[in-house]
Each structure stands twice: as C-alpha cells, then as structure tokens.
Symmetry: C2
Subunit: 594 residues, 2 copies
C-alpha cells in the first residue's frame, strides 16, 4: 500500500517564493512567519502520514457500521481522531477566545489538503465540525456560542450539517422539516434528513447537528428556512451532558466510496420532538448557510486536489518499479520501468501539471479570504479580495473535483490490470473521488453560480478584472526564456481572448435566451479552471526562474507549465466555442425522441 508523503517541498516553494507568506502575514495582520508555517506543515504532514494514512484502507474495507441506531467507525478512526484533537488541529483557524489558534486560511488550506489526502473519509469529520463551528461563529447568540463553540473547536464534540431531505436535494426551497417554537424559547424539530455525513458515530461524546427547518408560518421557498442547533445529548447550563435528544440515526448508506465516513439518515422528533435552538433569526437560515457555503465548497475543492495528489504519488511509485516491455527508442533489452514509456509519462505529467496548478490556486484563494477578513485592511481592498474569492470558489470546487475524476482514473490506468484489483488501492481513490463533483453542490450548480451570481450579476466586472490580472502576469513571462514560457504566454493570451468573447456573448444573450447561456455553464467553468490553472503556472514559473541554486525546480516548473499550456490550455478554444454555440440542440431536443 501507498505511504502518503506530504508535499512539503511544493508547500515551501508556494509559501516562500510564489506567494511570500511573510508579506502576506504582514499585510493581513497575522502572526505567522515562513518558518512557523513550514513547521506547522511539517508537523501536520507527520500526523497525516503516520496516523491517518494507515487507517485509510480499513475505512474502505471495514467501513462504518450501523446497529440499532448506533454507528461504530472503522478500526483506528477513533484513535486517529484523539490524536488529531490532542494536536490541536481542529482549532487551527478559529479565534483564540474559543480555544483556537487564529491562524490564516493560507496555512490551514495546505494543512487541510494533507488530512484529505491521508483519508477523505476521516477528514470529513473535522471538515463538517469546522463547518458547524463556523455557522455558530457567524450567526449564533452568545449563549449558544458559549455552550457549543469551545467544544467544537477543541474537537471534544463534532458537528454535522443537516440540509438534504429526500425531496430536497439541490433545491433547498423544498425543505419540509418543521420547527415549533416552545414557551422557553427553544423549538421542537420534526423531520427526516438524509445524506448526513458523520450524523452518528463513536468518536466523540456529543454530536451537534445544525438543521434547516421551517416554522409553521414561514414563507414558502428559501425565504422561509431557519437554522437550528440540535445536540445529540442535551447540554446543561453547567456544560454537562444531559438526556438524549429525540434524534436517531435510522440507517447509513451503502456507498460507492468514502466507506469510512458514515452517511446517515437522521430522524428528528419521532416522539415529543427534538429540542433545537434557533441560530440567528427565523427565516434567515439560508443566509447563514450561504456564508458557510464558500467555506465548504472550498474545502471540497481541496479534497479534489488531495485525492489527486495521493493517486498521483501512488501511480508514480508504481511506474518507477514496474518493469514491462522495452520503451521505444531507449535501452533496456531486459525491459524498462514503465516510467520510461511515452504514454505513461504523458499521463503522469498531465496529473502533475494539474496538481501544481490546483495547489497554487488553493493557496491564492485562501489568501484572498485572509485579505478580505483582515480588520486593518481598507474596505476597498477587502471588498475586491472578497469578490475575487467568491468568484474563484465555484471554480475551485467544480474544476478541482472534475480534475480529480480524470486524475484518479489516469492513476488507476497507470497500474494496468493491477489497478482494477481492490487490494492495489488505486480503485479506492477513484471510488472515493466520485462523490466530490456531487456533494456541496454538483458541478452544474457551481457552474450556474459562476454564471449567475458571480459573473452576470455585476455584468462581468469581477470576471473582467481577473482577466486583466491574468494578462498582466502573462506579459511578465516575456522576460523568461524557453519554449515553456513562450507557449504559456501565447496560450494565456489566446485563452483570455476566448474568455472575453464568451463573456460578451453571455452578456448579450442572457436577456433573450438565458437557457442557452446556462447550457454552457459547465464548459464556462472548465474554461475558467484551465485559465486560472495556467495563470498559476505563470506565477510558479516566474518565481522559479528567479531562484539561483534551485536544483531541478526551474526545469520541473517550466516543464509542468509548458505541458499545461500545450495540452490543457489548448482545450479552451474548443470549450469557448461550445459555450457560444448555446447548446441549442440539447435544449430543443424533442422530448418524445429521447
């Protein structure tokens, strides 16, 4: 089995040379310098590879198991969670007043990648717990914060997000779960929620459910949804655990992947009603959810990067070892390692060049969030960073997770027939990755968000500003010698022009044929993903070429960038043409002829 190796040298390259974490910390008022950041990354890497990676396969093979409403996690999960908590990793980016460490997103992004790479199934637990803590931090009363936040930040308790119901998946307007106000200010919750990640498990002493529900007089649709805290065990005013709440795990799902992560059907209020506490105001639950959504979608994007990195590492290790055939044009009458075969190298550099692009973009987006939240920054700067971050989040979520499908599939392909055998491990990455383009909003939902809220709502201003920034960096490549820089510069210029043409078409067409614009939403998101990836390669290449004594770094950066330009950015003109064709054939295909 693979031993996951944290990508520490790439993290150093990004934080030191590409993005300059010291300058970033100064600009955002964070107390984090490069050495501390790298020490944190190294320590996280150790936990990820020594404690979490070893349980990944048990999570898959054994899985979480349900019996009589209780869920036991796979062997090793509870111990790994204890080690994780004790290391303080759950608290990394939360305020110090709740026991957190108040570190910037720029560092938590690189650390979170490692948890997901080591085991997505495991890392979903802290990811959801962070999400619940974030919701409370954003909108809850001081009393609720005092009762729940510290325990969630420390990882003593874990959290869940209860949105989906059988009839309400992507469409939260259809939520039916009811919340009845009680005399004491609490509510009684009744309803069924499905697809609840870590809805029930044996790793923590309490589980704090955040639940979307409707009060009886609430308006129809999304404007009538409220958010409630519903603990598994009620919490006394002294902080001690009290009675079991009226909430039960009815079953867990039998899934294609992430077997180690229990996906629960939760029943609220089978008897007297589950006791819940309103977070924020009635009917404004979805607003709180939307604030969190950027966070959660970014986190799922990181999962896409993480599983890609893991699959790539494993495939590369196999390609080095496996001897088969004689590579064309090379010595090796006794056979050569398949790493020498042209197509294996094509696949591996394809994976690598996408991973390089994704990790840089993840750090860039995390830094935008830090800038947007830095209290001393001026409002204009914060707002610009916020808008760019919000524009990029659906790209991170959509593009990273679609990439993960191709990369885990290519990684399996490198193994040949062995890839199809479960014991090899490559199949698990493919299976685990398959949920990523679905949960936290499908790729189409990300793409619709990118088209509607993020592009057309401001008439393309944020998009145009980003294109300007990319073109500026592309021009800086003129100072760099070599084919890679030349290819990348030309491809970025051509890609920006293609995106500008598509943008113009979208703005002109939205009023007369909005369905045609949205039929091109996914290709539009793909174009942006590729373009931002190419942009990040420009930043990497510019940083690498200024370094003296960097060993193979400049060469490797150039080749990864050049490959991305000639084999990934080359897809953009075709995709842009697809957008502008309006998919009219798909929209008008006769219903009777399907």
């Amino acid at each position: 089995m693979s031993q996951y190796r944290p990508p520490l040298s790439d993290i150093r390259f990004l934080l030191q040379h590409v993005f300059d974490i010291d300058a970033h910390s100064r600009a955002t008022g964070a107390s984090l310098d490069l050495d501390t950041a790298l020490a944190i990354a190294e320590e996280a890497g150790r936990l990820a590879s020594d404690r979490i990676d070893p349980i990944n396969r048990a999570g898959d093979v054994h899985g979480a198991r349900w019996k009589d409403g209780e869920v036991s996690t796979a062997p090793g999960f509870a111990d790994a969670w204890r080690a994780f908590r004790e290391g303080g990793w759950s608290a990394l980016r939360f305020p110090e007043e709740y026991g957190g460490q108040g570190l910037p997103m720029a560092i938590s992004a690189v650390v979170d990648e490692m948890w997901h790479a080591a085991s997505i199934s495991f890392a979903l637990c802290p990811m959801l717990t962070n999400g619940a803590a974030e919701a409370l931090l954003t909108a809850a009363s001081d009393t609720l914060k005092a009762t729940y936040l510290e325990k969630l930040v420390s990882g003593a308790w874990t959290g869940t997000m209860n949105l989906t119901e059988p009839q309400a998946g992507s469409d939260l307007a259809a939520v039916k779960t009811r919340a009845l106000a009680q005399a004491d200010g609490s509510y009684r919750i009744h309803g069924q929620k499905i697809f609840i990640t870590y809805g029930e498990h044996d790793m923590a002493e309490n589980i704090i459910h955040l639940v979307l529900a409707r009060t009886p007089d609430a308006p129809a649709g999304v404007k009538g949804i409220s958010l409630f805290v519903v603990p598994k065990f009620l919490v006394g005013t002294d902080g001690r655990l009290g009675a079991r709440n009226d909430v039960r795990c009815a079953s867990i799902e039998h899934k294609l992947g992430i077997h180690g992560s229990p996906t629960a059907v939760m029943l609220f209020g089978e008897h007297e009603g589950a006791i819940g506490y309103l977070v924020g105001e009635e009917n404004r639950g979805l607003e709180t959810m939307f604030i969190m959504m950027n966070e959660a979608r970014f986190a799922v994007g990181l999962q896409g990067l993480a599983i890609s990195e893991r699959a790539y590492q494993h495939a590369l290790a196999y390609a080095r070892e496996r001897v088969q055939g004689k590579a064309l044009g090379e010595d090796g009458s006794q056979g050569t390692s398949i790493l020498r075969h042209p197509d294996v190298r094509r696949m591996l550099l394809g994976m690598r060049s996408h991973i390089d692009a994704m990790r840089a973009l993840a750090v860039y987006v995390a830094m935008q969030k830090d800038i947007a939240h830095a209290p001393d920054n001026d409002a204009g700067e914060r707002d610009a960073a916020q808008r760019r971050m919000e524009f990029l989040v659906p790209i991170v979520k959509g593009w990273f997770t679609e990439n993960a499908q191709h990369i885990t599939s290519d990684a399996l392909q490198v193994f040949g027939g062995m890839g199809f055998i479960e014991e090899t491990g490559a199949a698990q990455y493919l299976r685990d990755a398959r949920i990523l383009t679905i949960y936290e909003g499908t790729t189409a939902i990300q793409a619709n968000d990118l088209v509607g809220r993020k592009t057309l709502r401001d008439d393309g201003a944020t998009a145009a500003a980003l294109l300007d920034a990319i073109e500026t960096d592309a021009r800086r490549l003129e100072a760099v010698d070599g084919r890679a820089a030349a290819s990348l510069r030309a491809a970025l210029a051509q890609s920006c022009a293609a995106l500008r043409a598509a943008l113009l078409w979208m703005r002109e067409t939205q009023a007369t044929d909005a369905r045609a614009v949205y039929a091109g939403a996914v290709p539009y998101l793909e174009c942006w993903g590729l373009l931002c990836g190419g942009w990040m390669h420009a930043r990497r290449l510019l940083a690498a070429t200024t370094l003296a004594d960097a060993g193979t770094l400049p060469d490797a950066s150039a080749m990864s960038a050049g490959y991305f330009a000639e084999h990934a950015l080359s897809r953009i003109p075709g995709l842009a043409a697809s957008i502008m064709s309006g998919a009219s054939f798909a929209l008008h295909f006769p219903d009777s002829a399907w």
Copy 2:
C-alpha cells in the same frame, strides 16, 4: 432498478436505412435479409432484457465465489447460460459444419451489444468462449477441431484465453509458462497464469483453456511463443469426459467491478504437468493470437458501447422522473423534472450523440469484416475492407471504452447524491466500465498499434484513404438543410484538415523523434474516434433526411449530429495541436524531479 430496453429502433434505422443490410448480404453472399435480421435482434433483445438483465445486480452484489479450487457463480448465472445456449446464441457467427448459424458480423455485432448491456459480467463468458472457438477455427488441426469446436460453439463447454502472467502483462514477450513435448504428441504445461476470465466456474461441464507457453528450445521473445489447448477435463476419443487435468484455480480476484465474472489465478502443472495440445505450429502462437485480437478488441469496444447505452437509459429514466427545482425560463412553480434543466440535457445529449456515433461505427466495422471474408469478393475489395477494418479496430476499442468512462460517470452525475448510493445501480456501471480501457490492451496499446502498425507502416495510405472517404460524405451534407448539417460539414472538413496536418507531422517526425510521435498516440486515437464518430453522424443524417414520415427521427438525428459537431468535434483542433507539440515536456521531465 433499471429495466434494460434493447435499442431496436436504432438497430432498424441502421440496418435498413444507414447501411442497407439487404444490399450488404447480397454483396457478401450472406443469406440474411432485413426482416430476419430484425427478428433476430428482437429475439435477442427479449432474452437480454428478460433473462440476463435481471441477474446483473446479483452478479455485482453476490459475485463469483471461490472455495477449495471451485468457483460458484452468482445466483441466476447458470440458468441464464442454459437459456443462452438453448437459444443458440453462442453459435451465431460460427460455420454451420460446427453447429453454428453462419450469420454475418453485422448482425452478431448488434446482438452482442445487447448481451453486454444486459450484463457485462455474464456476457464475458460467451465472449471468451467465442474467442477460444475462433482460435481453434483459425489454426487448430482437424482432430482438435473435431474434438472441441462443436462443444464450444454450442456452449456446452466454455473457453478461456490464458495470456497474462505476473511479469507478462502488456508484454507477452516475457511469458515464462513452459510446454514439454511428450512422446504421444501432446505436451505437458507448467506455469502460472493470472487475470483469467471465467478460468473456473460452475456453468458448463468442461472448460477449454487456450494457453500461451514456451517450448524448451524456443527463441526468446514473442517469436518463441506457442499456443496450446488445455482442457479442464481430458476428452476421450469417443468425446466423453475423462480425468481431471493438472490445472487448478488457485484464487479469484477481488475487483472494482464485473464481480459476477470470475477472474482467476490458474496453476498449470503443479504435479505431473497439465496435458495440452499444440494449436498450429510451435513458436507461432502469437500469430494466431493476433488474428483473434481484432475480434477480441472489437468485442471490448462493443462492451464500451453497451455499458454506455445502459447507463444512459437509466440516467434518462431518472431525469424524467426526478422533480427538483424549477428549470430556468420554464413553467413549474411546483418544480420540474430535471430533464428540463439545461445542464442535464447537455449531459444526456452528450451521451446520446456519442452512443449514436458508436453504434453506427460498430456496424460499419462489422460490415468491413464481412466484406473482407466474403469468398466471392475480389481480392482488392477484400483487402481494402480488411485494411480499413484493421485500422478501425483500435479506434473502436480505445475510443468506445474511453467514452464509456465519461458516459457512465455523467450518468451517475445525473442521479446526484443518489448516484453514489450503490442500490441505485449507476455506480455499478462506472465500476464495471473501468476495466474496459485496460483489458485486451490498454488505450495506450491501442493507440500505439494505431500509430505504428496501422498508420506509419503503410506511410499513412490507409489513413489517407479513410480521410478521403470521410470528406466525400461530408460534402454530401451540402444537400441537407439546417444548422446541424452545416455545423457538421464544417467541423468534418476542419477535422480532416487537422488530422492531415497531424499525419504529415507524424510521418516527418518518426525517423528523428519516434518517442515524440508515440507520446501523441492517445490524442491521435481520440482524434480519430471523434472524426469517425462525426462521419457516422453524417451517414445517419443523410439517411434520416431522405425518409418521409419518419416521425421525430430526422429531428433527433439532426440534433444528435449537430450536438456532436459543435461539442465533440470541436475538441479536435486542440487534440491535434497536442499531438504535434510532441509532448516534449513529458519526455524530458527530469527523473529526479518527479
């Protein structure tokens, strides 16, 4: 669960209007008319949907099980096999003298698609049995034919292909299994074979293994490999089963998919040596295998088409039923079926347009084989058909099976969260499909074959002739009105030009930098797949527009064709650029920097 519906109306359209099976039968001396062909397809469709489709899920969930060297297949498999045999389906394309029906490939291709669509795991058994029968028919002595062929053709016995060994996967030159000649003319076989499909099972009274092995004095490499028949039970001169041969199933694999198909580790000659009989001459085993390979690769291509069709049908049925959200720009305050959402339509027509293209290409290639084998045709015509068929087989194998990855993944995506739940069935298609780009030669191996043997060996003559034929049909689209025909005509012309440029580059570069040419092999194969798909859409559209009273057929054909032109053929310029860039970055990436 899905009820598989055989695509009878498309089969009728292809056999009647696009390709004219009556004219084809006359030209190839086959005694098959349209009505008979459609009656056969209908009858096969009934067996596929009524008897084989229902066991598909049991195959997945229960799987084949090994105990003490015996393998029991999943519930229903043995009964389905009995029904299949009794219907005479195993015998469809074999000569009448061995109990077959002597039908052309054009009909067996459409029928074989149905078996694979109903259950790939089940259909692998007749597929391998046909392969073994084909090998004997091609190269075995009359005695061997008399002993084994009729039983294989009738399906009383089944067959296997034993090529792979742990160190000899794609590289058969590394085969180590030994064969020692005996005084009586038989051989004793010793060695281990892996990945043997249906190597052991309980569905037939005997299993006939075809085994690649080396005699002691054989030359090294592929020129020293011989082919042997090794029956599980020895067969007496009276045709009765005798003693158990010295061959044993040591275990079966735990795989990502096709759980119903046992994949065996076979041990030959643990004791005195397994008794085997030479097929053809010593050291010429690989030649026989190569003749069969076109057959087997074509069959795996059909599996790609088949699982795509099944996944598409299931996703379409769900999209019709599932109500979620309100589709943009449409009525439906109570929600609309997701079939009305633009991106769902985009995904579904993307699948459909690829399936339409693949099925037409499958029939076309099958007809080339019929023409090549028709005894009354002149040698020039037969030779041209043979060369075109050999050119297209790696495209069918490589492109169809890569398409199957995307189509089964998109089908799962249509289901949203439900797609990730195993009970839905969509995940099984994705898992089953994943082997298709690997076995019978990976996509890279198909692509290398297409570049080397099929394109460069005759200096691009076969490729150029095919481009001429495609351009001729593209010009015929001038007579067809509408945007679809115009888009398709333009895209085909542009694609042919791009392929001609790539061909020229390949011919010029092969002498100086063969590795660069082969680094572009997979994109080259993808270009050809897309181009041939577009060509088939031209043939379909030309046929559909000449029909009066064809209901929605002309519209549906035009929209499928137009979509393919604007969203699939649009990928060709980028792919052609990738080919001609030579992937130099991948080839020269520093080994120490991976």
